[in-house]
């Protein structure tokens, strides 16, 4: 059994860890509210953007000559994956969940003998992926300096992607991020952004629009913007998810630390009592023998 002094030290150390996790939990809770708010506020923009594009693409007359960002290159050989993670750790399974999802997608692509290229956004994802896929990572982007997700950063990532697409470096682009459902649940998502996947085209109306200038020109201007918008949406969802995940992780850690302190305190009290009893026995038996 550990000595009384050791136990005392351990209790103190667990208690100070608990203080840290508690503080982190509270910080995360405050940040979460802000992140959630901005994620919700950002939704109308991406939804509207999507609607306009759907309306446009349903109205486009010449499918053959549709912009490549919409229709794809017609090939399916080189896949670009943009893995979006956080720059900080201690947020539970947040990063690992994205990585897990991405890895299973990667192995599927490699099994099909297609070429894989990876862009990581956020340093945590880069740390984990470079152990296995180091030769596949073509770019690592990190926004450690920016406090909140902002459109400017998203636009930078979008521009990089479009530049590479126009240079013919890949055919299909998929982004990986965590979708924020609630504080305990975040769902890792794989979303294809090039060519545009119009799964949700159920509300493409027959409404005829006047276009000024013509459809093609609008589309070719709009699609690059849409890429940035989608990335921005992913960033907002990600930052809300990160804080939510960190909050529940730190809540768990605080609770576990509390349990540990209780257990250690009982052990400490027992050993102190044992020492007192032992001393008493010694005194009494000493007195009896006289």
């Amino acid at each position: 059994m550990a000595s009384l002094d050791d136990l005392k030290k351990r209790i103190a150390s667990v208690k100070s860890t608990q203080k840290i996790t508690k503080a982190m939990k509270m910080v995360a809770a405050a940040k979460l509210r802000k992140a959630q708010e901005s994620a919700e506020k950002g939704r109308p923009y991406s939804e509207k953007m999507n609607n306009v594009i759907l309306n446009l693409s349903s109205g486009i007359s010449d499918k053959e000559n549709a912009p490549k960002l919409l229709a794809g290159t017609g090939q399916d050989k080189v896949h670009l994956c943009v893995v979006m993670t956080s720059d900080r750790g201690l947020c539970g399974g947040f990063n690992s969940n994205i990585i897990k999802k991405a890895k299973s997608y990667f192995s599927k692509i490699l099994d099909e003998n297609k070429q894989l290229k990876i862009i990581t956004v956020g340093s945590k994802g880069n740390d984990q992926l470079k152990r296995i896929y180091d030769d596949k990572i073509i770019e690592n982007i990190s926004f450690k300096e920016s406090k909140n997700a902002n459109y400017f950063d998203a636009d930078k990532v979008g521009k990089i992607i479009i530049e590479k697409f126009e240079a013919g470096e890949f055919d299909v682009c998929t982004i990986f991020y965590n979708k924020f459902k609630n504080v305990i649940t975040q769902i890792p998502q794989a979303q294809q952004i090039i060519p545009l996947n119009d799964e949700g085209s159920e509300n493409s109306s027959d409404e005829s629009y006047e276009f000024e200038p013509d459809e093609d020109e609008i589309l070719s201007n709009l699609l690059p913007k849409n890429i940035s918008t989608q990335i921005f949406k992913a960033m907002l969802e990600n930052s809300a998810s990160e804080q939510g995940s960190r909050m529940s992780a730190m809540d768990n850690a605080t609770r576990n630390a509390g349990e540990m302190v209780d257990k250690l305190t009982i052990e400490y009290n027992r050993s102190r009592q044992a020492a007192i009893t032992k001393e008493l026995i010694e005194i009494i038996s000493g007195a009896e023998s006289l």
Binding site: G42, E207, Y209, E212, P213, I218
Partner: protein, 130 residues
């Protein structure tokens, strides 16, 4: 019969402006200024740098935009833009900064004609503001 329709301006961060009592909106569309009244035909167009003028009961409001998309449908006008400023509370220093940036951009030798045209537009608009 009211002659009013609804306008919504959104930027990536939030809904910038929502109003349902506007009577006329003038937007700097790509191929020239465009005034929109109630029951305009459905239209999608782009914006170039310029001033959006929103007229409603409570008076006129002016906004400076750099780019964006307008969509008008069923008397709903949506404007999507990543850069918008309300002129009444826009700082002179912000204008100066934008102007300086635009002038730097225009001075670059490797920009294409369309970008050049847009930047020139921007400079012109910003100069008239000052």
């Amino acid at each position: 019969m009211s002659e009013e329709f609804k306008i919504e301006i959104v930027n990536p961060e939030k809904s910038f402006l929502v109003k349902d009592d506007v009577s006329e909106v003038v937007v700097p569309a790509f191929e020239g200024e465009m005034g929109i009244l109630k029951d305009h035909i459905s239209i999608i167009s782009f914006l170039k740098p310029g001033i959006i003028k929103v007229s409603s009961k409570s008076g006129d409001e002016n906004y400076y935009v750099e780019d964006g998309i307008v969509e008008f449908k069923n008397n709903n006008l949506s404007i999507l833009t990543s850069s918008i400023y309300n002129l009444s509370d826009m700082d002179k220093s912000v204008q100066q900064d934008l102007l300086k940036k635009a002038e730097e951009e225009a001075g670059k030798s490797d920009i294409n004609d369309q970008a050049k045209y847009l930047v020139d537009q921007k400079i012109e608009v910003l100069k008239t503001l000052n």
